[in-house]
């Protein structure tokens, strides 16, 4: 009897976002996969924040790139105001980003509680492989976050939260990223004007990781492979923390 109760308690106490029964989603970028312990955990919540409101499109691109890895039905949930302010997902653009627009379902909510409810419903649905919730402003209710984590944990869907600015609050998210658009030239110069632009480049920082170390990378969208790759010929804004153990912290 006591044993049974203990087992039940243990099952209830499972930390959301840490269990790995749904496996991981390898991103195909060796250093990031290593930091994440094999890849992005399925069935967990991941927060992606834009470095500032202006970089929202970059964060959107990163979130969509991750969601494209999940391969399958994708839900995009946003508040009306967010769609009016920074635009709605545009099919032809998504198509170039390795996402099949026919798999995308967009949900516009008037209120945040509607959005959180819809996202939870979507995550509980077995046919949905990833859900992106755009919750730009303000703090999010802890209870709601935990519910999202649990819902994702039940079905194994990828839950992504898109935020307008880095949040410092506590969260049940398995990882937290800060994304910024990076110049596509390593040294911007006025002479480059009029020249053909390089590939999309993003500066991505992993600021919270419940499974391993943090890091920062510059990623480049590769059109031929339809996925992100490390921008090797670019100067990284900061080398991953792992790579410089000799350096002392000031």
């Amino acid at each position: 009897m006591l044993q049974q109760l203990r087992q039940r308690l243990q099952a209830l106490q499972k930390t959301a976002g840490l269990e790995s029964d749904h496996g991981a989603l390898p991103l195909g970028i060796a250093p990031i996969d290593a930091a994440l312990g094999g890849g992005l955990a399925r069935g967990a919540l991941h927060e992606i924040a834009a470095a500032s409101e202006a970089h929202l499109a970059a964060a959107t691109g990163f979130a969509l790139g991750l969601a494209a890895h999940a391969q399958g039905r994708l839900l995009w949930l946003a508040e009306d105001m967010a769609l009016a302010e920074s635009g709605a997902p545009y099919g032809p653009g998504l198509d170039a980003f390795g996402l099949r627009p026919e798999h995308l379902l967009t949900v516009a909510a008037t209120q945040r509680c509607d959005l959180l409810w819809a996202m939870e419903e979507a995550l509980r649905c077995r046919a949905v492989h990833a859900a992106i919730g755009e919750l730009r402003h303000g703090a999010i209710d802890m209870v709601a976050l935990r519910r999202l984590s649990l819902a994702a944990g039940e079905s194994g869907a990828l839950a992504l939260l898109l935020r307008g600015a880095p949040a410092g609050d506590a969260s049940t998210a398995a990882t937290r990223w800060v994304v910024e658009a990076a110049p596509s030239f390593s040294a911007p110069s006025p002479e480059r004007r009029g020249e053909k632009e390089n590939a999309t480049r993003l500066a991505v920082e992993l600021v919270r990781n419940r499974r391993g170390p943090l890091g920062a990378w510059i990623l480049e969208w590769s059109d031929s492979d339809e996925r992100f790759a490390l921008a090797t010929h670019a100067q990284p804004v900061a080398a991953p923390a792992l790579d410089r153990p000799h350096r002392k912290v000031a």
Binding site: G61, Y90, G91, P92, G93, D95, F97, P101, L105
Partner: protein, 508 residues
Amino acid sequence: MLSLWLRRLSTDRIARSHEVSAPLAVYGKRGNAELIVAVDTAAERLGLRAGMALAQVRAMHPALQAVAEDVGADATLLDSIADWCLRYTPLVALDAPDGLLLDIGGCAHLYGGEQALVADISGRIARAGFAFSIAVAGSIGAAHAAARYGEPASYTGGEERSLLAPLPLAALRLAPETVSALARVGLKRIGDIIDLPRSPLTARFSAQVLRQLDRAMGREHEPLNPRLPVAPYVAEQRFAEPITREADVLAILTRLAARLQFALERRGDGARRIELTLFRTDGALRRLAVGCSRPLRDPGQIRTLFAERLAALSDAFDPGFGFDMARLSVLVAEPSPPEQIGLGGGEDTAEADRLVDRLSARLGARRVRRLIARDSHHPEIAAAAVPAHAAPADTGWPAFRRHRTDAELAPRPLRLLTRPEPIEALAEVPDGPPLRFRWRRALHEVIAAEGPERIEGVWWSEHGGPARDYFRVEDKSGLRFWLFRAGLYRDLAQGAAAPTWFLHGTFA
């Protein structure tokens, strides 16, 4: 056919809404004169009639309350009474301005016969405070005539002749000019024209006279034009005691849905749009409708959808003193193949459809959308978000993808603004990309630009707008935008407006 005539609709409406003790009359402008158009019982007893001049009546009876007519309010009231009549039959038609027609064929037995049904309507309308008369007859014309001019009672088919003969010709719903023209030659009652030779009558007056007569006599069929489309499948339930709780409503709903499932299965149909009508004891109606992405029969799923719909209403679900009747109707039905179980891919799609239904029921169908591609070079038209329920099977993306690779389409932004936003831009050369621009009060220095991609306006339409030159630009901090210049500088010479810059979308 049952004809309900609300004899004093406008005065009853005023008397219901506020206390009026003195005799009441409603006046309106006819031509240049203000005339009485309706009077209540007390005013009638004073000898007042519709058609008298207002000034004259006021002089005769200073205590008379005269209220201006309000045609809109009368029509709204009649509409709500028609709604209420839906409890008797789904076939309710307006007989404007102050009557209703109910096709009670096939429903009377539910109330224990025609007499009982008429008694039920009479009791409820009298309690609501309306003066009325009801007649039941075989044809629309006969019922109409009997309710207004004859003895309000029930007539069966074949009795039309004896019923109509003594009534005045106006009962045939003829134009007043025709009635007075007939009166001038001494034809005043319907009985006067029933046996007259037909051709001289038509030649002298109009074909309308005989047509209306034939319709009233039941010799020619007159179709009823119901206010609401008739649902192909309906199940209803009346309660001895009014119900108020949401749980009870859902339980009743499940029972009704189970009854519908039977009928739907027999004909191999499934419901695409379902409406629940709740009749409140005070006569008000609540209508809730849900749509489904695929033909639905399962009562459990129908219940789930309505539960979401009710949850979205929360406080707006106002049972008042309770609902005494519920009706579940399938508004749109579609053939649905028998259920197949155990198909891997199909199961997933079905699950996704159920999610779409649930979200649409709660948030509204227009808020859950799917993206479709259209065959257009115009960026705003090329892709659209349509309600997921109404999305076509062919989304157009495979064709778009082929086109994109064939035509080597320039990159498109990830997020497109609902409408392009004007920006202040400074370009080095008139036709070149901007050097810097200001969008939403922030200044962006352009360090790289790609373009232009010229997209011609829709020149075959008047509202097509000028041609656009699109540029993909990157600013100092790496933000990438999709800008365009509307209008070309070379058109300036021809008197076109100066080109202006807009921002249309953002890239990752």
